[in-house]
Amino acid sequence: MAESKKLLLVDDEADFRDIMGKYFSRRQIGFEMAGGCMEALDWLGREDFDVVIMDVSMPGLDGLECMAEIQKVKPDTEIIILTGHASINAGLIGMKKGAFDYCLKPVDFDELLEKIILAREKAAAKG
């Protein structure tokens, strides 16, 4: 996996961020977290990220709207959308709008990890 750049997790649910944080730490994946879109955009302004993992349903700008914002400022970032059963249509909509992939919550960690690896490969290929 590419060593330098970090990934950014955007989710309004603190519990979920905790679980994912532990998971990434255990696998020595560099990451930052944001509780909403604005915070995510702040992070992207400060540091380089190759992959953003983003929940679809968030208060304020939702995941798809936030993705559009990120694509404006950091078009090379690969975005993986997280959808719930209730918001599952967002998976395909997100793909059509340029997301790299989607993952269904509750998240299967191994599946997400593979998607992160592939997203990083693609981001690296773009330069």
Partner: protein, 860 residues
Amino acid sequence: MQRIISFFRHIFSPVPEQQLSPEELRIAFRKRYANFRGLLTANNNALQAMADLEKVYYGGDSYRMAFIRSKVTTILVNVFKMIRNLLAMSDGKYKELETIFERIGHDIDAIIERRPDIRQGPFILPLAEVNRQEKDQAGEKMANLGEVAAIPGLTVPQGFVVTSSATRHFLTDEYLVEINRRLQVILPDNLEEMYKGCAEIQQMIRDSPLPPDLEELLYVHYARLERATTPHCRVALRSSALGEDTAGVSFAGLYRTVLGVDRESLVAAYKEIIASKYGARAISYRRKRGYRHVDIEMCVGCLVMVDALVSGVTYSLDPGEEESEVIRINATAGIAKGVVDGTTITDLYLVSREKPHAVVYREMRQDQAASALTYGQIKKLAEAALLLEQHFGQPQDIEWSFDHQGTLYILQSRPMLKSRAAEPEEDTARMAQIEEREAPVLLGGICASSGIASGPVFRVDSAETLCQFPPGAVLVLEHPLPDWAPLLSRAAAVIAEHGSEAGHLATVSREFGIPALFGLPGAMTDLVDGEVVTVNATTRAIYRGRREDLLRMQTVRRNIMAGSPVQRILTDLLQHITPLNLNDPDSPQFKSTWCETLHDITRFCHEKSVSEMFNFGQIHHFDQAAAKRLVGKVPMEWWVIDLADGFGDGVHIEDKSIRIDDIASVPMLAIWQGISAVPWAGPPPVSVRGFGSIIFQSTMRPELDPAVASALTVKNYFLISRNFCNLSVRLGYHYAMIEAYLSDLLTESYVTFRFKGGAADLRRKTVRARLLADVLQHYDFRVELNSDSLLARLKKKPLEYLKQRLQILGYLTLHARQIDMVMNSPGEVNRYRDKFLADIEVMLAGDTPPILGESDHGGE
């Protein structure tokens, strides 16, 4: 075959010169390859999700809408990815796929989002005004009771129905969205979480205020009941759900009934019953039987309570005594609730259906003799039961009370459930018992489509045997290739040595409802053509002979979801997803415009992506300066171009030559082993006639004249990366191409060989191609042969296996040179075939050290 011809036409026709630098070439390859890999992975994911859907659909177990949604999304997203990858690989050549995909996606959305039709009506209907026509407002139970009220000679309690329109007025979309959100996250396996989640939803409903207009109406109608009976009368509030109309689905006792309700507790009791739609048991029952929550709407009946002396339940036709045809009455003192719940001890009466309704059997289990039914009461009950049966046209399950004045009140009448078939669990046990009798001849594999069938074995391994396949036979294959799909409409069952439940053929097997057992090693060798076998795909076993005992089991299976709304949705969805119309890549119908289902799109994208990969080396003419000459003791000239990571460390970009030890490309090394295994014997002695034909061809086609050698006619190129190799051998008169990608993932791996041309006349060239085809078929290649063009392919095989096949191709590429010149003699053909096979066997035995030619053997 048309396809191959056009392919070769494409290869051999001059392509506009498009010089790419080594770096550009590398990037182009990497991009295309990334897309190809992505497409293959998406293809697997889409097919797996299709298989998952079909498995539940045909499997007879229950499944949920959430499952369907998640699988459908997986399929849609992966098909979308495949299209995107293919467009990227082909520079947008198949853009119309996007439109087709959008259309199918739109149809699928419409099915998934389908809702029952809703008609808005009054919030409250007096029971006397209700009949079957008002079912969508009053619910099943109250609509029936309204009908009963209208039957002369029968009495029902006074009351009214709070309609489904009122329920929607109370639980607005806002609430439903919240409720559905909570329901989505409740997993069916976690009971504790389920009860907790359901309790929370029910509490939310209890805590929500009733809209003031609805509350006022409730009180108005209660006051009317008071005026019609007595002030402060007690009422019973009963659930009357809507949408429970499927035969064989009972929904019995899932929802609440609240007794002894007065004006003060009226609103709370109403909400209690509405909330009972979300009880844990009701939710799991709906899930199991294939009902969405939106399919069920709760209405509430409000009935004046009967001051009951004795109550009970009558079956107009006792299901336990089908032979004798009697009426069954269970009765108890007081109200009927305990009879329904099964919590109270009851007296049992079996009564003749014929007048004067004699009691044929009596079992007095209660202590109070006072509650015993009089003959007059029994007669009244029997007459009422037959009246109701006649009115509704089928045996009825009736709840009733006698009040102290001796009036019979019908509280509920509904169709009786038919006796159920044996449970599936019992079937499995019985099946296991039967199967113990005789050991199967083959056991194991993957159940790709469940079921049991019997027929004579017929093995199919070529287009010729395909045509001879007899209807009703058991199809036995090595690989479950989509090519065999047309046979499935005629086969009793299908068995394959390879494959899984996710393949195209598995899908088609399920579509046709024929048993399919895949991934069963030894099937082709252990089963003999013509021998009758019985295949039980469900238990993954094959038995000798026709096993009637097993075949009978087949009919017992009952589908728990049958007729449910969720099953109807999945039935409709699968029509847009799984049928495969694009079977044959050679057919003129194998076009994007013929794609009707998502399965068609996956098949089309896959086929086209493979061609796009093959075409890479041809379309992108590479800068020859990037090529390094392979030096060492090697026959002929070989040039190598690195696309990605095909060289070992220490190789410089500026180097003009490279040694075989510096090559890190796994497939190239395997091909090279084959090339260098046996020294080339040199050109065969050519007769004058053969030589003449070379000269003739050379004058006709100047580019074949060795004297005017262009760069491509004298050089043999390897395009390589660590896992990829494309070798183009263009030796004056013939063209050969080997391409391979070797990966740890079977799904990504393939080997392809193309061969065409020669210096001799067409007949001799054709004989040579046929000879190569024979040898390749001997080593399990799928071969397509048209005149002198040969295409041989292997897919999804283990790494070592493919490496061996690459060696074989390397060997043949070198040794098939110029033998077309002598292909007019049958003796020579046989001699070469035997020599090739013998050499290959020695080579594959492995211990021969690669022999590198001491001197160059010269090119052609």
